[in-house]
């Protein structure tokens, strides 16, 4: 995907289509999981690809992998969207343990299999409740308020737990 993005930066539309084919089902899933609405997810992902096309030249392979860079664009737009309004309905909980990969996610997985195992190990080092909070925040876009309700804790506690958990994760990942 590095090579594809480099070609996209030079305005290669075939490379852009190939990049789309390799990443769109993942990016759509990421947006859908946060937004819980197919139309909104489609809107956000369309915008994201326009941005990917126009900003591919800003991608720095030494800092991020292509899928991380693209997913960050999608997540940020999705989160901006959900933070602006309140009261989403959560049908099911995020399950980190669904770590099975199928054909398509395998593309992204190839790049970072080690990273996945390492992050999972570090997450497992968190208390169960905190691990769940981190995953629901990151994957489902839950706000502090939503987490506070779900876990029946004050918002301030949620904030403290999240920050401590993140710092613990950082320490663990840097070992």
């Amino acid at each position: 995907m590095d090579a594809l993005l480099a070609r996209v930066a030079r305005g290669d539309s075939d490379a852009f289509e190939a990049l789309y084919q390799a990443s769109s089902s993942k990016l759509f899933a990421v947006a859908l999981r946060i937004l819980r609405n197919r139309e909104q997810a489609e809107e956000v992902v369309q915008e994201a690809y326009v941005k990917i096309w126009s900003r591919a030249g800003d991608f720095k392979p030494e800092i991020a992998s292509p899928i991380t860079w693209m997913a960050a664009i999608v997540r940020n737009r999705s989160l901006d969207e959900v933070r602006r309004k309140a009261g989403r309905v959560f049908v099911n909980d995020g399950e980190l343990d669904q770590l099975e990969s199928d054909d398509e996610s395998a593309i992204a997985l190839l790049e970072r299999q080690d990273d996945v195992a390492r992050l999972k190990r570090c997450l497992d080092g968190l208390e169960a409740e905190k691990k769940k909070m981190v995953c629901l925040a990151y994957l489902d876009g839950m706000s502090r308020e939503e987490l506070a309700q779900k876990f029946d804790k004050p918002e301030g506690t949620v904030k403290t737990w999240l920050r401590r958990s993140l710092m613990q994760l950082k320490g663990c990942l840097e070992q």
Binding site: W53, L109, S143
Partner: protein
Amino acid sequence: MTEREDIDELAAEYVLGTLPAAERSAIAERRLTDANLDQALSKWEQRLAPLLEAVPPVAPPEKMFEKIQSRIASSSSVISLQQHRRALAKQTRTWRIAAGGMTALAASLAGFILWTGAATHSSQPTYVAVLQEESQKPAFLMTVNMKTHMCSIKTVTPRPDPDKNYELWMVHEDLKQPMSLGVIAKSDMEEKPMVSYVDPDLNMNATFAVSLEPAGGSPTGAPTGPVMYAGRLVQSTQ
């Protein structure tokens, strides 16, 4: 707590996604100019991204790629901020090429703001431009009255550092270089005269851009700092 730790915690929570809307947009804005913050954010993005493996892929809607292609085709004249920065670094000639269209979002937003009556109630021909960074949230709302040749600039989001000023420029292929319309006051709303001797058509076809300049404005008469926001006028009232 040291400043760096503080930045790192904020970056971590931004990437996790739990910061409230106002803090999110403040961070996103600061990221553009703060290299330390940008680096901290990139690192957190990289650290947490493996979690996305837990999201099983979902087939996107049919025809989505075609829709993206047509969006790109229709926005190919939209100014890329990055292009602007590069252009400025090179030569002002590129400005003339960069003069481009306004996004659909900006157009609908301009319409919406006027509809809610926030901009003007004038019955004279009025034109409005939303100055923004690509399709991001608007930064300035510019309203022009072609009869009185006055424009008002409403600041929507940005606040420059105390030692900097935003400066407004008109960019058009008929102009040898961007024409300054002056420094934008640090108040919420400001009225200033347009350049009255220019052809109204030129106003309509120009791109209005905002650059970040030293206090008091560009020392050279041409933009010296990064172009932060840009947009074009659309007619809002008859």
